[in-house]
Amino acid sequence: MRFYDFLVSIGSNGQILAGIGAVLATLVAGIGSALGVGRAGQAGAAVVAEDPDKFGSVLVLQLLPGTQGIYGLLIGFVIASKAGLLGGGSAITAAAGLQLLFASLPIAFGGLLSAIAQGKVAASGIAMVGKRPEESGKAIIFAVMVETYAVLALLFSFLMVNGVAV
């Protein structure tokens, strides 16, 4: 089989396309969350080293960039079940598969970049908690501002997936 034929066979298989979409949503958004939570965690360790009592409010801030990965998993799962990838489904058309693939992109990349950005804000917020623990609520709100765009991406991805007829 030549490479061209290989591409055609993928492009004409709805389930493979939908599978790529499910993987992208879970993987790319997950990478974002991992980076974001990791970055915030490093900042958190520094603050907790100074004052272990701040663990609670630091942990909340560290968790915030983690939601994008969950949103990605959510969309990945919805796509996979819609395309019958979890077993027991019938084959879907190439067009529907492509639609599902595109539907995964908002949460994949919206999630990736917003989680990274949110991780930075959370890390700064954690530094703020180190200096002024009484203001941790404000640090949380700053981080939540970023998450708005992950929520919007999740919403649109879901609406798109929901709209695909299989």
Partner: protein, 641 residues
């Protein structure tokens, strides 16, 4: 609501000062205002402050060795006299702890010094001569030192005897040459990176020395262990130290309070803020101490920095924690707490939207409140979660799921099967979006009415109509404009059109009224009309209610599918395996659901708060209130009776 405040002015005899302050501190009702000149008690204050510091560092040293109180143990209730009475004896414990700590760090330093010396001797282990023999004689120059491995080749040609010993990156070199050759050799060595090593005061071979040091280190470590055990044995005293610390803080705060007072030789002047509803209590308390004092309460003046105290009924009280996370309202403005509490209640429930999670959350928060009796921020947050949990139970039924299982599956075959959920967000997303946007509009219109009410209270009728009410008309008009599409009579659409245009005209003509010239005014009005874009984005912001609700439901579904449809299904066929599998899968799914519930609860808490802060408070709230910080008992470790 915001509690009205009074300014307290008290003139009393110096002789009564301590008792009066003590009485005021015990009811925690007065925030002191600094007098112009300060009394000279700073020496005493720094002594008390040092005491607080000592007790604090001693108790934190003992922290690892003390039995920690569980999360659910409420703080012990102790009388203030009991706290301050234990300070002296605790200071003695403090000295012991400090002495032990000093000894431990001293011996740690000793051990480190020996370890470093040992490391520097390691490369010389193979040298069989005593270290004291490495010294120059009249004719021969003998040097010892370290050289990087890569520079070894540079020394091949030199006119000296070289002995090389172990070491991986650096080699230990013993070099001997004739005194007359040294002048030539020294620069070569230096260029190659050779570094002299001296062994001052060491006798015997390196290996002997290392063995001796090892023995010494072991002895020091043994001593360190003993010291640490002594410190650990003192862990039981930490409780007493903590109480003494709280007592010391109380005494320090009272002394610091004295700095705020003005005074003459015989009298002192105290001024401070007190809640208007606590004036009687203050008078009563003062009269119990002395009757030789003058007390007066006056209303705050314009420009006074009056502290803010919130007062709300039991149901709304917990939500003050949410308001406090943002910022207290300025004194004299509106307290947003009772206004936003119902919305917080509804939005939180809709976001978490899983009845089982709601039950677990409500029970957990209730249990925590009952057992640990948290106060302050912690207590407020637990209260909010309790209310949020209750809301979630109902909202889960209306819009959500039941531990990830959809209601039609649970009510299968009953009359309720087609009733719940009222709107299923996973199959009717558009309907759910409309519900969210509708609630959002109600939320924001309410904020606009509050803002308009504020304007009217200040006599600014024009502001109320132009800046706030006209926007309600524009948005309502635009919504009515779309009504005929839903099958309502066309006349409704026409009314909507007229309403929107008229209100927009009002904004266009009057919103820029602060500007003098007509062009600037109209430009300002047109700019204001552009706010329609921010209304649109604000409404969209409420879509997060839908998104978070959906995320809880679908993640629950994912967990159930993984645990039951996939994992448990793989045990099918063998009855014994199925029983074992059932136990494992049940435990696993409960753990996973609890974990997801915790994450979702955090998300719902912060996103609901955001809707209040940005979309709601943004329209009317005057932040920047200063917290009421009365002279009182600020005990961290116990609750003062």
């Amino acid at each position: 609501m915001i509690v009205p405040m009074k300014r307290l002015t008290l003139v009393g005899l110096k002789a009564d000062q301590e008792q009066i302050l003590s009485a005021l501190q015990s009811i925690s009702a007065v925030q002191l205002i600094s007098a112009e000149e300060t009394a000279a008690s700073e020496g005493e204050l720094s002594r008390l402050e040092a005491r607080v510091q000592r007790l604090d560092s001693a108790q934190s040293l003992l922290k690892p060795y003390a039995k920690s109180a569980g999360l659910l143990t409420p703080k012990a209730e102790v009388a203030a006299e009991e706290l301050t009475g234990g300070i002296e004896s605790s200071l003695e414990i403090c000295s012991d702890v400090e002495a032990l700590d000093r000894e431990i760090s001293l011996s740690r330093g000793e051990a480190d010094k020996r370890r470093a010396l040992m490391e520097s001797l390691r490369p010389w282990e193979e040298l069989t001569d005593g270290l004291e023999t490495i010294r120059s004689t009249h004719n021969a120059r003998v040097v010892a030192g370290m050289l990087p491995v890569e520079s070894l080749a540079q020394l091949e040609e030199i006119n000296a005897a070289v002995q090389i010993f172990g070491g991986e990156k650096e080699k230990a070199l013993l070099i001997a040459c004739h005194e007359s050759d040294w002048a030539e050799l020294a620069p070569i060595l230096r260029a190659a990176g050779f570094q002299d090593t001296a062994f001052p005061g060491l006798t015997g071979t390196a290996a002997e020395n290392i063995a001796r040091l090892e023995k010494e280190i072991a002895e020091i470590e043994q001593k360190q262990k003993e010291l640490t055990e002594q410190l650990a044995a003192m862990g039981a005293h930490r409780d007493a130290l903590c109480r003494a610390l709280d007592g010391a803080v109380i005494e320090r705060d009272r002394e610091a309070g004295k700095l705020e007072l003005g005074s003459t030789d015989a009298t002192f002047l105290l001024s401070g803020w007190a809640r208007a509803d606590q004036t009687d209590e203050i008078l009563e308390k003062l009269s119990a101490v002395t009757d030789a004092c003058y007390v007066d309460f006056t209303d705050p003046q314009e420009g006074d920095a009056v502290p803010t105290v919130l007062k709300n009924n039991k149901l709304v009280k917990p939500f003050e924690a949410v308001t406090n996370l943002y910022s207290l309202p300025a004194y004299g403005s509106v307290d947003g707490t009772p206004l936003m509490a119902p919305f917080y209640f509804i939005f939180f429930g809709m976001m978490l939207s899983d009845s089982v999670y709601g039950i677990v959350l409500a029970l957990g928060a209730w249990f925590f409140l009952k057992k640990a009796k948290p106060t302050g921020m912690m207590g407020g947050l637990a209260g909010v979660l309790l209310m949020g949990g209750i809301s979630t139970i109902f909202m889960g039924l209306l819009f959500g799921t039941c531990a990830g299982v959809s209601w039609p599956v649970i009510f299968k075959g009953t009359a309720l099967e087609t009733v719940f959920p009222l709107v299923d967000s996973s199959t009717e997303p558009i309907a759910m979006l409309v519900v969210c946007a509708g609630l959002g509009l109600v939320h924001m219109f309410y904020a606009m009415f509050i803002a308009a009410g504020n304007c009217i209270k200040n006599g600014d009728w024009v502001g109320a109509i132009v800046d706030h009410l006209s926007w309600v008309c524009i948005i309502t008009g635009l919504l009515l404009l779309a009504a005929p599409m839903l099958g309502l009579p066309a006349i409704v659409g026409t009314i909507g059109k007229v309403m929107a245009i008229a209100a927009a005209a009002v904004v266009f003509l009057f919103a820029g009224r602060a500007k003098k010239n007509i062009a600037g005014r109209l430009l300002g009005g047109a700019g204001k009309l552009y706010d329609i874009a921010s209304w649109l984005s604000d409404v969209l912001s409420y879509a997060r209610i839908f998104a978070l609700g959906l995320s809880t439901g679908v993640i629950g579904l994912v967990l159930n599918t993984l645990c039951w449809d996939m994992l448990f299904a793989s045990f099918k066929g063998n009855p014994i395996l199925m029983i074992v599998g059932f136990v494992i899968v049940t435990a696993l799914s409960v753990a996973l659901h609890l974990f997801m519930m915790a994450i979702s609860t955090l998300g719902c808490f912060v996103h609901t708060a955001r809707l209040q802060y940005v979309e709601f408070f943004g329209k009317f709230y005057e932040a920047g209130g200063k917290a009421f910080n009365p002279l009182g008992y600020k005990a961290k470790h116990v609750k003062v009776k």
